[in-house]
Amino acid sequence: MKLDDKLYLVRFNTDKQSHIKILDQEACLQCEDMACTRICPAHVYHWDEEVKRISVGYEGCLECGTCRVGCPDNIEWDYPRGGFGVSWKNG
């Protein structure tokens, strides 16, 4: 099963506002590794070749916090507001 289909099984209560911020998009241009595009289990971070920037699909965030550890300097990840975000069915 593809990751997108797996994520389709997850229940979300999506907030209108994002809980994830890329602090400096310019820094991403200098970043060769772009670990965020691989380390996030939900592939929230995606390099958009057309506009040359990392796009952030915060709506699909599973709230593990791995991005915050993988890219501590340029990703500001916080919890979504109370009641919003992922809502596990099994856990």
């Binding site: 099963m1 990751l3 797996k6 994520l7 099984l9 997850v10 209560n13 590794d33 670990a35 691989r38 380390i39 289990p41 939900a42 592939h43 599973l62 709230e63 593990c64 916090g65 791995t66 915050r68 550890v69 993988g70 501590p72 916080d78 919890y79 507001r81 109370g82 009641g83 975000g85 992922v86 809502s87 596990w88 069915k89 099994n90 856990g91």
Partner: protein, 430 residues
């Protein structure tokens, strides 16, 4: 501002255990949880340990939503399509006093929260704690994300999980490091009860666990697991973030590669995926523990790095530390002294328990594995090959076969390397 005696940040096993023990000791206790109800934000592999749970809720197995009592634990080393495994089974483990059960956290944590409410604790949901409140240097409560969301407390217990936001802001914890934290992904795959029991050789209701090493994590430091639930399997894999980034793997690809292994594939066959989950596991151990207390604050569970990865224990360390913190908080409040000096008692008690004793025992293992990344790659290969040669009946005289096994091992690792690995392991684990 509404005032409580104890505010617990986070409704997982650590926080709820803290709330239960504090409320039972008769102090006004409140748990603040960011999910719809305790459980909806919570993930673990799925093993709940009986002794530490029983200490919080006596005879919990009579009522709690548990999946299966674990009667068999299997360890496997994966190398290519081969697997070398070892297991221990005791059918008596399906009866009280048990040893461990599998659980699904959404159900279990909700139930545990109900026990906290029965004990007298208040649970506030859908609320994120943003920071501690101070009066001078003293902690006097928490600030939440709600309008007029300040709540007063004499003691705040930080059970916020692996993402230690508040513990960092309070100057107790440092930012998480990629070599100290694993990311794990898991799938819950539904399968009919009879199929589970047939595939794992279980009597009705019994459960089993499998931990897989070696190529299950592509040789990176980490483990994979398969746990039996009532009518589903939990399968997952976790690896330290640093090697995962370096090896350019994604967590999901790691899990898919594991599921494609012949042994694993056959266990899951015909199952239907129900959920895909992700979570971080604090693996830093003894050397990465934060400061565990200060005036008015104690740190418990994952926030305190209380995970014994080698024994895949975490929920028990969480519950035991929560229980102790709840008791210490209640005692401090009763004597009217929540100073750092008094809360030091929490530190003494966790250090005197299995929690920190075990983390201390294995304090050198993290460094040992980090410095010897070949271990998880070469040894599964050597072990698999050795067993294959041992079991192959090809008319090679056994004495000759033993020589060939040794030769094969030396080819993969020099005599000197083998000895230094053994000595290193002995030093790290003794």
């Amino acid at each position: 501002m509404e005032k409580f005696d104890v505010i617990v940040v986070g409704g997982g096993p650590a926080g709820l255990s803290a709330a239960i023990s504090a409320a039972k000791a008769g102090v006004r206790t409140c748990v603040i949880e960011r999910g719809d109800y305790p459980g909806t934000k919570n993930v673990m592999g799925g093993v709940l340990y009986t002794r530490s749970t029983e200490a919080v809720v006596p005879e919990f197995w009579k009522e709690a939503p548990l999946e299966r009592p674990i009667i068999e634990q299997r360890y496997g080393l994966i190398s290519g399509d081969e697997i070398l495994s070892m297991s221990y089974r005791d059918p008596a483990w399906d009866q009280p006093p048990y040893n461990a059960h599998t659980v699904l956290r959404v159900k279990f944590d909700r139930w545990l929260a109900q026990q906290a409410e029965k004990a007298g604790a208040l649970i506030i949901t859908e609320t994120v704690v943003q920071d501690l409140l101070y009066e001078g240097d003293d902690v006097v409560g928490v600030r939440t994300g709600r309008a007029e969301g300040d709540l007063g407390a004499k003691v705040v217990i930080l059970a916020e999980g692996v993402n230690n936001f508040i513990a960092q802001k309070a100057g107790l914890a440092r930012p998480l490091k990629s070599e100290n934290v694993a990311v794990a992904v898991k799938e819950v795959i539904s399968l009919p009860t009879e199929k589970i029991e047939d595939r794992f050789c279980l009597e009705p209701g019994q459960g089993a666990t499998i931990e897989l090493f070696g190529e299950s994590t592509q040789g990176m430091l980490g483990t994979a697991f398969i746990y039996t639930n009532k009518d589903s399997l939990s399968i997952g894999v976790g690896a330290l973030i640093e090697p995962l980034i370096r090896a350019k793997w994604t967590p999901n690809d790691l899990l898919d590669a594991l599921k494609a292994k012949p042994y694993v594939k056959r266990l899951l066959q015909g199952g239907e995926m129900k959920e895909y989950l992700a979570h971080m596991i604090p693996e830093g151990g003894y050397n990465a523990m934060p400061k565990l207390y200060r005036q008015g604050v104690m740190v418990v569970g994952d926030t305190a790095m209380f995970v014994n990865g080698l024994h895949r224990e975490g929920s028990n360390l969480a519950m035991a530390s929560g229980k102790i913190a709840g008791e210490v908080a209640a005692q401090a409040i009763k004597v009217g002294d929540v100073s750092e000096q008094t809360l030091n008692h929490y530190d003494d008690r966790v250090r005197d328990s299995f929690i920190i004793k075990d983390l201390h025992k294995y304090r050198k293992t993290g460094d040992f594995f980090e410095k010897n990344p070949h271990l998880f790659k070469i040894y599964p290969e050597i072990a698999s090959k050795a067993m294959k040669m041992f079991f192959t009946a090809d008319e090679t005289p056994k004495k000759e076969m033993q020589k060939q096994i040794l030769k094969m091992a030396m080819k993969k690792r020099t005599k000197r390397g083998l000895l230094s690995d053994m000595f290193g392991a002995w030093r790290a684990f003794k």
